[in-house]
């Protein structure tokens, strides 16, 4: 089975620092990593390939730093990586990203299945896989918690109210959730083998596209968490009762108890 996996090189949100004054993320030079759910999509594709044979190819779209993800893609075991980069793509909206992914997939050629993480670690828009499916006019199965392919594709999708089990046709687009698998950690020998492997670098002009974003992001800020900073002094053991009463009063005032 020939599988294409969409993989984003996201900001490593856990490492991200925020300007304490403005609440804005300090993105310049911030570390990136393979998006968590995309990593699981790749793991799922590799498992299918190990069972049934075939190929696993990947598509990555983003700013030039996105190329760094290729090493890990190859170390995990993918056959061929395709990367589309442009400085302006850091600000791409989901429509544009999906369009670029689809044009790249058309260049890659034949496939039986497209996998992607349900949402990226940083932007978390949940839109890309559905838009890719729509543009390719393929069936879409969102948020898979499990899937099997031997004897036809079966996807279990978590749609919030329940888990739906679908018999899916091929080709389809499936987006995967975090709980679908535990991705492998590449071995040293796999990393070494992957380290000099070449990948295909596309630019937007290769795909006949340009950066036009219709979505304007006004601001990204950290939610403000104001601490109450209520201190109850209770250094005198004989007056402990008073202290406890004060704490209880505070908690009642906040409707916590």
């Amino acid at each position: 089975m020939d599988i294409i996996v969409c993989i984003k090189q996201s900001y490593d949100v856990q490492q991200l620092k925020f300007d304490p004054k403005t609440g804005e993320p300090m993105l310049a030079g911030a570390p990136r990593k393979m998006s968590d759910m995309d990593r699981r999509a790749l793991e799922e594709a590799l498992k299918i390939k190990e069972n049934l044979g075939g190929t696993v190819k990947t598509v990555t779209v983003g700013p030039p730093e996105s190329r760094d993800v290729v090493k890990e893609i190859y170390a995990m075991g993918a056959d061929e990586a395709f990367v589309v980069t442009d400085l302006k793509l850091d600000k791409a909206d989901p429509d544009l990203t999906a369009k670029i992914i689809v044009e790249t997939i058309k260049k890659i050629g034949n496939f039986d299945l497209i996998l992607a993480g349900a949402a990226s670690t940083d932007d978390y828009s949940w839109q890309i896989p559905a838009k890719v499916a729509a543009l390719l006019d393929l069936p879409f199965f969102p948020n898979a918690v499990s899937m099997t392919v031997d004897g036809g594709l079966v996807v279990e999708s978590d749609l919030g109210d329940a888990i739906y089990k679908y018999k899916a046709p091929l080709p389809s687009v499936v987006s995967v959730s975090l709980e679908i698998n535990e991705p492998r950690i590449p071995t040293l020998s796999a990393i070494l083998k992957a380290s000099r492997k070449q990948f295909t670098d596309f630019y937007l002009q290769d795909l006949g596209l340009e950066v036009v974003t219709e979505l304007e992001v006004r601001k990204v800020v950290m939610p403000k968490v104001e601490r109450k900073n209520v201190v109850v002094e209770a250094t005198d053991p004989s007056k402990m009762e008073d202290g406890i009463k004060k704490i209880l009063d505070e908690l009642r005032k906040e409707n916590v108890i």
């Binding site: 925020f18 300007d19 304490p20 004054k21 300090m26 071995t187 040293l188 020998s189 990393i191 070494l192």
Partner: protein, 426 residues
């Protein structure tokens, strides 16, 4: 695994990356294994880096390196709990300049240079042990995996796991290492320029003695990054133990000192880290820096120069890496990686500034162990100057004030001896 490397380098710090860069340029097949998840993930550094070796080795250094600011002002501040006395050198340092960098970003850049030169740098791999055959190092193990090479360059840093296994060095003793804690505090680029009276791209390197370490052996530091401040305290471990100092408490006190607080009141900490620093100078260097199939470079070999006014390590580490690479290239050409063949590394080091500088300040480490420089002098100087600048009904001259402050704390003879010793040895 079938692939055998010309050299395996343990640790992607300045030493390891220096070695890898040079070896890759020689066309040798080299891999750097780094324990952190990214290059620089484990780095903690104030920090100021001296330019000379980097500029000589990497032609595009000035254009590309992630420099925060170029040092334009050097400051030494002596502090007691309320006051501070600062000496400032404002100068054109361009002939022998230094820059302030965030070391993890700097090493990330060095890592890119290594990869551009054809070397491999692999983060996220912890080297557990060496593979030895008949006493000769043949490679490393990481988890269940083995990796072979003609030679291993151990640039693992301050924690000598591999060097101990190779029998090349022991654990550090408490009087040989200091613990450093550092905070990065976010303020704006303009605020940094305004507060420190700097033009764009210019920076301040400020060392502190006295109160920041609670008068223990060590010092405080403040470096201006582009739009943040690195603030920290370095305390020698034995002194911290003797004075029962918790380093994580002490940086709070330092940050809240009125002299620092007024600088940083606008900002808030965005990063906190801690690390060990070798401080023993020449005496902290292991007797053997090479074994059969292995060389030591950087912090693990103790190549850090503490001369009181400045601490240098990154440039010396990088240079030691370059010299290790030269040695490995010669050994490669001779096809001999025995201790005898690799021992030319020790000669190269001795003829380089790594040793000549450490040699020149050999007696500094003894002198810097003199507690009076951290305890008595900062306090007396602050008190004397404060009184001297105070106008009252019975204003006095400096000398009687000095004698009064010295009473019971310091004899004139001791002071003169310390001053002479400091001037001679630092």
């Amino acid at each position: 695994m079938e692939e055998k490397f010309d050299a395996i380098i343990v640790g992607a710090g300045a030493a390891g990356l220096g070695a890898a860069y040079r070896l890759a340029k020689y066309g040798l097949n080299v891999v750097v294994l780094e324990r952190g998840q990214r290059i620089g993930a484990k780095n903690v550094y104030g920090g100021r880096i001296y330019t000379h070796v980097f500029e000589k080795e990497i032609p595009e250094f000035r254009k590309e390196a992630p420099v925060e600011r170029w040092v334009k002002k050097e400051r030494l501040t002596l502090m007691n709990s309320d006051d501070a006395v600062t000496l400032e050198l404002f100068s054109d340092f361009s002939a022998n300049d230094s820059f302030i960098a965030i070391l993890s970003k700097f090493n990330e850049w060095l890592g890119k240079k290594v990869e551009d030169a054809g070397g491999l740098v692999i983060p996220g791999i912890k080297v557990d042990d060496l593979i030895a055959e008949n006493g000769t190092i043949k490679g490393i193990t990481a988890g269940d995996e083995k990796l072979y090479a003609d030679v291993v360059i151990d640039a693992e840093g301050i924690n000598p796991i591999i060097a101990k296994k190779a029998g090349l060095r022991d654990d550090w003793k408490p009087n040989q290492v200091a613990v450093g804690v550092k905070e990065v505090i976010k303020i704006s680029e303009n605020t940094v320029n305004d507060i420190f009276q700097l033009n764009e791209g210019e920076g301040v390197a400020n060392l502190f003695l006295g109160y920041p370490t609670n008068y223990a052996l060590g010092g405080g530091f403040l470096y201006t990054n582009k739009d943040t401040i690195s603030l920290g305290v370095v305390i020698r471990i034995d002194s911290a133990i003797a004075k029962r100092i918790q380093v994580y408490d002490i940086i709070e006190d330092f940050r809240n000192h009125p002299f620092i607080h007024r600088i940083l009141k606008e900002g808030s900490p965005i990063e906190y880290s801690a690390h060990l620093v070798p401080e023993e100078g020449l005496d902290g260097i292991p007797r053997n820096l090479v074994g059969d199939g292995i060389l030591l470079a950087g912090d693990v070999a103790g190549f850090v120069l503490n001369r009181g006014l400045t601490i240098r390590g990154v440039d010396l580490a990088f240079l030691s890496g370059l010299l290790a690479a030269e040695t490995v290239k010669e050994a490669h050409e001779a096809g001999d990686f025995s201790r005898a063949s690799l021992s030319s590394y020790e000669e190269k080091l001795k003829n380089s500034i790594v040793f000549s500088e450490l040699e020149a300040f050999k007696r500094a480490s003894g002198l810097l162990g003199n507690l009076r420089f951290y305890e008595t002098y900062p306090q007396i100087l602050c008190e004397v100057l404060k009184d001297a600048y105070t106008v009252g009904e019975n204003s006095r001259k400096i000398y009687p004030i000095l004698r009064e402050k010295m009473k019971g704390r310091l004899s004139l003879f001791t002071m003169i001896r310390d001053v002479i010793s400091a001037v001679r040895n630092l």
